[in-house]
Symmetry: C2
Subunit: 249 residues, 2 copies
């Protein structure tokens, strides 16, 4: 194994064990070089590895800072359980609270829109000029941006409900959908990895060599009607996605 | 939007539509620059974007080649259904066949090993020096490497079965486990994104700026006993992961 990878491994382990605390500043590159008996370019390369993993970042005037938020485990099945969601006002809030952080969500857009073609298709909207409600949110764990999420609901279902208002009310969108007779009972998520768009990179504070996990979720009723599509972007280094299922054959 | 991103979008769309066929060579950089009325450095930057997405690659003496295999959708729930698995001799083979490619798998290691600590923990092995069977495979769609997978099964379950032999027999490992009274009925997968190790990068033919999806899967019996852990690495640009579940609250 190359030397810089060994040093990256050693520093990663010290962050994992807590010896280098979350939010703290690492020893200077010169001091790390001396500790590991290598040149500073080798230390720089090791820190680049850790930076692309999102474990550390360079901060002007401070040095190399250990990222405040440890990797978050997103439990897809548990976070969508009605009992779990309703306790915390939504899947995201319940997830982030369980992980010991304070969830926060800023709504940046709400109202009627023409959805992107793949969203219209997933919702089964055959009208050539379909309309959906949009709920576009920026989401934080403590003060760290951890997710962008944009939800689309067919306009005929959302209109006249609080889904089209800034405050969707207790229990979130799924509670409002249920009140309209559209109880969501099944979900499908598709996960891909890609480079962030410029807007995503800015909000999620990603460097050029980092990636996002792009998740497209479709929510279905018991009658198999798709009633919501949510498109999410998450910093890939920040999240572990967990899924569970049983054999139904 | 910056010019190189627009050009990347235009070329991506032509690959998607089939105008630039899979496995074909793109027009020269000079000809692309002339077509889009930009300088060749702008075209180079656009091609770098597509290369990091795994859509194209530079090939010495040929030029820019369109990657042969389109993104593969991995349907976690469907591929693990007993009826589906048994038709094709395993989840991977059924998946790749469904997608119109020929699956191939090379076994590189089989036998008893000391598993990594996180595998021993997931299997609930409390012995300080635990032993499992290992099945370490390199997997292809047609002739393109698309997955590395290493499975671990507690030795007391695997010993004396074909799980410890190179040819595991019809129906794969799960069929042998079932014969021993360990019918797998539930799975849990954890997905992370990371840079490839050197060995992974070599086999999966990844450039430095590409990533792998690392999947850890645990298979449980109806009695909630973990009987297999599989650790996988997949080129992130090659795969879309699909999961489905129902609300059980």
């Amino acid at each position: 194994m190359t030397r810089y990878r060994e040093i990256a491994d050693a520093i990663r382990e010290k962050i994992r064990s807590g010896e280098y605390a979350r939010g703290s500043v690492l020893p200077s590159n010169a001091s790390l070089a001396s500790e590991h008996a290598v040149s500073t370019p080798v230390v720089n390369r090791a820190l680049q590895v850790l930076q692309s993993e999102g474990l550390v970042r360079a901060e002007r005037g401070r040095g190399t800072v250990v990222h405040e938020i440890a990797p978050l485990v997103r439990r897809a099945v548990e976070r969508h359980r009605r009992t779990v969601r309703e306790q915390q006002g939504g899947a995201f809030a319940s997830e982030v609270s369980r992980l010991g952080h304070t969830p926060r969500s800023n709504l940046v857009q709400v109202g009627p829109v023409t959805p992107p073609p793949q969203v219209a298709e997933a919702l089964g909207l055959t009208d050539p000029d379909p309309v959906t409600a949009i709920r576009d949110r920026r989401m934080y764990a403590d003060d760290t941006p951890v997710q962008l999420a944009t939800s689309y609901i067919p306009w005929e279902i959302a209109t006249g409900t609080r889904i089209t208002q800034p405050d969707v009310g207790p229990g979130g969108t799924y509670a409002r959908l249920a009140e309209q007779g559209h109880v969501v009972t099944r979900w499908r998520e598709r996960v891909t990895t890609r480079s962030p768009s410029e807007a995503e990179g800015d909000f999620l504070k990603l460097t050029d060599d980092q990636r996002v996990l792009a998740i497209e979720r479709v929510a279905y009723t018991a009658q198999d009607r798709p009633v919501e599509v949510t498109v999410m972007a998450l910093p890939a280094h920040q999240w572990t996605l967990e899924y569970e299922w049983e054999d139904e054959s």
